[in-house]
């Protein structure tokens, strides 16, 4: 009883000090561009491409060594928050120096920095790419086919594949060589 009262008192003091608010951790993209994904794992759907310095609020994963991913919320220009997963090693706590995107956007007119995500190619080709494909011996259909593969393999399917082979997230750590 006495310890419960003490715990309550400590909590109240902490709340009073923090003003009743909990400050969420903010992290920043530290690569030229990073894909925000719908789930943990590189096989999940990319939902947003973030450029260097982009800020996001950590929702889950802080201080959790069992996962290599943060679940984050990214506030878009219209105020909407997009939630997704990002690999921890691709972000930093301090805002990195400005990326080159703002300097170069529009330099070539059609080469604007995209914030729209990895599915940009699905939106249609720009004139320069279309011109290149028309002028060269290419197989664009084969590229479209391979680009659609990640969407054809479900998370369950890749997990089953890893489980059958005892690899990936199902690997037997004993069997692995392990880094020295």
């Amino acid at each position: 009883m006495k310890s419960k009262a003490l715990l309550c008192a400590v909590c109240m003091v902490l709340l009073a000090i923090s003003g009743g608010t909990i400050v969420a951790k903010i992290v920043y993209v530290n690569e030229d561009y990073v894909e925000l994904r719908s789930d943990k794992g590189g096989w999940s759907e990319p939902i947003l491409t973030l450029h260097k310095g982009a800020a996001m609020q950590v929702i889950e994963g802080e201080g959790d060594d069992s996962t290599s991913y943060y679940k984050v919320g990214v506030t878009c220009g219209n105020g909407a928050v997009i939630e997704g997963y990002i690999f921890k090693s691709l972000v930093v706590d301090e805002k990195p120096s400005e990326g080159a995107w703002s300097q170069q956007a529009g330099y070539y007119g059609s080469a604007e920095a995209s914030q729209e995500g990895a599915t940009a190619s699905a939106k249609g080709l720009n004139a320069a790419v279309a011109g290149y494909l028309n002028a060269n011996k290419v197989n664009y259909l084969a590229v479209q086919q391979m680009d659609s593969i990640p969407r054809q393999i479900s998370g369950d399917e890749i997990r089953a594949f890893m489980k059958d082979g005892n690899i990936g997230i199902y690997q037997n750590r004993e069997r692995r060589g392990g880094e020295k």
Partner: protein
């Protein structure tokens, strides 16, 4: 010294500038812009455009091998290994090139990987394939191809600057894209590759494969066998040696890297039920139609 150079430039400008027409000044300005543009980092959308063009050109060099089960299998290994790479956020996806007499593979900056059927037929188990795919993934994840694109764009910027002064035309994105995509295609598909980057791709490819649960010896076993076949004259599948560093040195380097960086433990084979009901190694099962 810097001050002297600066004063000399200012003196030169003060002499030349009054005799220039407005058109001359605009031309020089455009040329300087193009030159400087060569040093601006390649944007995300530019890299996407370049990668798409290069990929389409690589795919255009070959017939595509149509085997949905094999395609899915190879892609799932690439996804698994890619998950443990430095860039797990990339979408690694593989296309199969029908070239039974060629052991070769190509990668673009954004994770498109092309492998020949000759390479797949030469693989004896899944750890070997994981090692090869790890090597290709490392080229993307360590930014090797992105650097090649950036280097070629620098050169293209400078070429355009020279051309502008002579011909007085504005730089067009389509021209830059064509020039850079073609040059990068040559760099990754036709010219001998940078030895330091190949070595790094071998080492990091083994890290990724090992972290994914495969023996790092897979890559060593694969390369050693190719070398032995080449030396015995028993294989015509040597295309990869045209663009990759000396195979003897590579086998030595990979062996040394394993000794230095990994615990030398063998992998257990991944067995599945074959068509006859007998267990068969998984890579052998999926590549059976190629042999």
């Amino acid at each position: 010294m810097k001050r002297i150079v600066l004063l000399a430039i200012l003196a030169l400008v003060s002499i030349v500038l009054p005799s220039c027409t407005e058109a001359d000044i605009q031309t020089v300005g455009s040329a300087l812009g193009a030159f400087a543009g060569g040093f601006v980092p390649v944007s995300y959308s530019e890299m996407q455009d370049m990668s798409l063009c290069i990929s389409a050109k690589i795919a255009g060099m070959y017939d595509i091998y149509n085997d949905p089960a094999l395609l899915k299998y190879v892609n799932m290994i690439a996804m698994t290994v890619g998950h443990y790479s430095d860039r797990p956020d990339f979408s690694y996806r593989v296309q199969l090139l029908n070239a039974p007499n060629e052991v070769n593979a190509f990668t673009t900056a954004d994770g498109r990987i092309f492998v020949t059927t000759g390479l797949l037929a030469a693989v004896q188990d899944e750890s070997e394939l994981a090692g090869v795919l790890g090597h290709e993934i490392a080229h993307a994840a360590r930014g090797h191809v992105a650097k090649a694109v950036a280097n070629e764009r620098k050169k293209a910027g400078m070429v355009k600057a020279g051309g502008l002064v002579a011909q007085q035309y504005a730089p067009q994105y389509a021209q830059i894209l064509t020039s850079v995509a073609d040059a990068t295609f040559d760099a990754i598909a036709l010219r001998p590759r940078d030895r330091a980057q190949e070595s790094e791709a071998d080492t990091y490819g083994m890290y990724y494969a090992e972290a994914a649960g495969y023996s790092p010896k897979g890559l060593l076993n694969f390369l050693s066998r190719l070398r032995n076949e080449e030396q015995s004259g028993g294989s015509a599948m040597t295309k990869i040696f045209d663009t990759h560093p000396d195979i003897n040195q590579r086998v030595t380097d990979v062996g040394n890297s394993i000794a230095q960086n990994f615990h030398p433990r063998e992998n257990s084979p991944i067995m599945v039920q074959g068509a006859t009901g007998k267990p068969i190694e998984r890579a052998q099962y999926f590549t059976a139609s190629l042999k």
